[in-house]
Amino acid sequence: MSSEIIVKNLYKSFTTKDNQVDALRDINLVVDSGDIYGIIGMSGAGKSTLVRCLNFLEKPTSGEVWVEDKNLADLSEAELRAARRNISMIFQGFNLLMQKTVLDNVCFPLELAGVRKNQASAKARELLETVGLLEKANAYPSQLSGGQQQRVAIARALASDPKILLCDEATSALDPQTTASILSLLKEINEKMNITIVIITHQMSVVQEICNKVAIIENGEIVENGYVADIFSHPKSNAAKELILRGNSDSDHTVSLLNESRKIRIVFSENSSFEPVVANMVLKFNTPVNILRADTRNVGGTAKGDMILGLPEDENLQEDLIAYLKERGLAVEEVTGDV
């Protein structure tokens, strides 16, 4: 197996007006061909800075980045631009051109490379087919949902036939169901097109779902890296333990709580964590619910579990909440008696 990306002793610091931020310190990383490599860490840990160093959108202060056996620091501006066509990138905010149609967005990397218009649009159509959005070819990004926009961004990223796809929080703006579908699309791309993927995330569930390797980054340093399975079974660093714990923080808590008028059990069987559903529901209806009990297990990298919620007293509101949960594909059942 050959290595696609090798990072050696990479340091990056930013000098601002009144101080210096050491965003990355002594990063060493090897991403092999075919990997789906997760880089996980808390906000401000340096994840975005690191991923932007991998295509030299950010130039390291010191250290080396090798991509496909080329030291990026040795490349001229023009060579670097050519190398970037091999390293596509998708973003949390999708970053589509809002004034261009979906089709023109996907054609854009080809247009930049000087590919002829009809050739480019044939390729773009093919890719839109792959991401399941061919019928939206003539729509504008503002007419699409977040998940659809990210699919367009993925199609666009694939247009230049890259070897590597960098994803900076590509699913952070999406709800759990859409996240799951984008992740499975990425997995499919990895397998069928043989594209190496680097995924930046702050959600352990994303790593569990599709990554084979992971690096945990804390305060600009990699504290632990290796195969996902190993790290999950034997986390060494505190950061790893914390992230794993937080990812499963709801396992087997029994909380005795106040006088709910009605209790329901929601069963989670899709590939994702249910926490955001509940959080989103609370935000949407602007009402608190009590999590009386929650239990999740990871079955072959898939989150399964159930949760018992205590609903507020208002009966209409209760029905709305239940309808909301059902809409999101969760099984809902009544619970009577003590939890």
Binding site: R81, R84, S88, M89, M98, Q99, L112
Partner: protein
């Protein structure tokens, strides 16, 4: 009072005003647009930050913009004579209008380009776009609605300034208003020219805003 002579004069006034306004706007954009792009590109968060160029452009644009138009018009008389051979009439008025408008346009263009989502520019960079491609294919395209609104406002302003230049023999509707209204006390003709100016202004505004709205695909 409204014999054929007056009507002819008013029609010529409209023609001259439109001529001054539109030609000045076009020429002012020839200078202002590249300057605005240069301001954006050389700014601290631009594609090629360059403090010296940015500060120089910034200073020039601020100085020119702080000179009142009528004073600029008088200051520029020798320069105008040099360029067009005389210092009065519609064609001569185009010179100070362009000098006055170009720095405004540069600022307007800079601020339109500032509205472009930095994430989209970063995405283009990650695709291997050159800086030239980023300017022409990303920034100008994404900012087009805002640029057209800016051009509409600028055209309206230039229309107003062209009327002001009437006070010193600049030609067009403003000139007529001053000659008849101020020197001859023919209030009727003055009011007509003012109404014509308002109508022209409205047409320009509505047209510009409509074009901008139709081109905006963000909604």
């Amino acid at each position: 009072m409204f014999d054929n002579k007056v009507i002819m004069m008013l029609l010529e006034g409209i023609r001259d005003t439109l001529y001054m306004t539109l030609v000045s706007t076009a020429i002012a954009y020839v200078f202002g647009l590249p300057l605005g792009i240069l301001l954006k590109v050389t700014s601290a968060d631009g594609l090629k930050p360059n403090k010296i160029i940015y500060r120089a452009l910034d200073l020039i644009s601020n100085v020119v913009r702080s000179i009142p138009f009528l004073i600029l018009l008088i200051l520029l008389i020798p320069f105008t004579r040099l360029l067009v051979g005389k210092s009065y009439g519609s064609t001569a008025t185009i010179v100070p209008l362009v000098v006055c408008a170009a720095p405004y346009i540069a600022r307007m263009v800079e601020s339109s380009l500032n509205e472009v989502d930095p994430g989209v520019i970063e995405a283009a960079k990650s695709m291997g776009a050159t800086n030239f491609q980023i300017v022409t294919k990303v920034m100008l395209v994404e900012a087009r609605t805002s640029l057209i609104i800016g051009a509409t406002i600028t055209t309206g302003n230039i229309l107003g300034y062209s009327a002001m230049s009437g006070t010193v023999g600049g030609g067009g509707l403003g000139d007529i208003a001053v000659r008849y209204g101020y020197y001859r006390w023919e209030t009727g003709i003055m009011i007509i020219t003012v109404i014509l100016l308002i109508i022209l202004f409205q047409i320009i505004q509505n047209l510009g805003m409509k074009i901008a709205g139709n081109m905006d695909k963000r909604k």
